[in-house]
Amino acid sequence: MNQVGGTKAKRKPPSAHRRAAHGGSDHSVTAEITLLLNTLRELAAIRSTAEDAAARILDSAEGLLALADKEEAEKAQEAILAIMTACGFHDLVGQRVTKIAETLDCVIASRLTGEELARAKTPAKIGSEITLEGPSHNSVAQDQARIDALFREKN
């Protein structure tokens, strides 16, 4: 699993001439970078907390599922499986947090080098020519229905 910010968050402080080239004072640029690095650490903590919470909920749900095998099984199993699938929030939270962290990395890189923000980093290209967007802002039911329709088409 990728770490939020990762090693990129441990860049060396910017050199004086780079900061001067970007038009900011030493103090203000350093303060900005410190704030951004602290934000990256907070995002990493959010991901870690979400992961821990999801693991503990799954531990409990798996324990309940074992008990539910014995009696009153069906309704209990449905409820427990619903709890388990809800734990998928951890994955989606992680992906959204990673996107925010990557944006912050771009801002930090831009402040360090003085390059234009838009040129600092291209969107993540994972899987050769495919550019991934991550979780959408639509309802999942709408997304699934649209995809199901695509799969019903012959070609």
């Binding site: 699993m1 799954l58 749900a61 699938t85 994972i126 967007e133 997304d143």
Partner: protein, 129 residues
């Protein structure tokens, strides 16, 4: 293609939480023979060692993504007919179409529930859902 609950199923995801969720859902659907891999490279290696009746894979993983795994599988004569379901947060139409063209059998958007997973498996194996 007949649905055989004893067939080995490979779940590929870089989030352990998701693997646990899918493994539990599969268990409730009767699939007890479930292996796991954390990316496409590991999955491909496992597939070359063992015959899987179904692969359920995330897309966004490193170093090898689910999409790249799918293309490798479809290009391999021995593996090319393995049923493959993509389970991902990625819902951009162009990417879904790319996965379909690459030969994915079905596609599930996260977050999903047990009924959705069951319906997609049933659809692949021609079972009434």
């Amino acid at each position: 293609m007949a649905l055989d609950p004893s067939m080995p199923v490979l779940v590929v995801d870089d989030y352990k939480t998701m693997i646990r969720i899918i493994r539990n859902l599969l268990k409730q659907l009767g699939f007890a023979n479930v292996d796991e891999a954390s990316d496409g490279t590991a999955a491909l290696s496992m597939m070359r060692e063992k015959d899987y009746g179904l692969v359920i894979s995330d897309w966004n993983m490193e170093p090898m993504t689910g999409y790249e795994l799918l293309r490798e599988v479809r290009a391999d004569d021995r593996l090319s007919r393995t049923p493959f379901i993509m389970v991902t947060a990625e819902s951009k139409t162009d990417n879904v179409i790319a996965a379909k063209k690459a030969g994915v059998n079905n596609y599930i958007v996260k977050p999903f529930n047990a009924a959705t997973l069951k319906s997609k498996i049933d659809a692949i194996f021609g079972e009434p859902s």
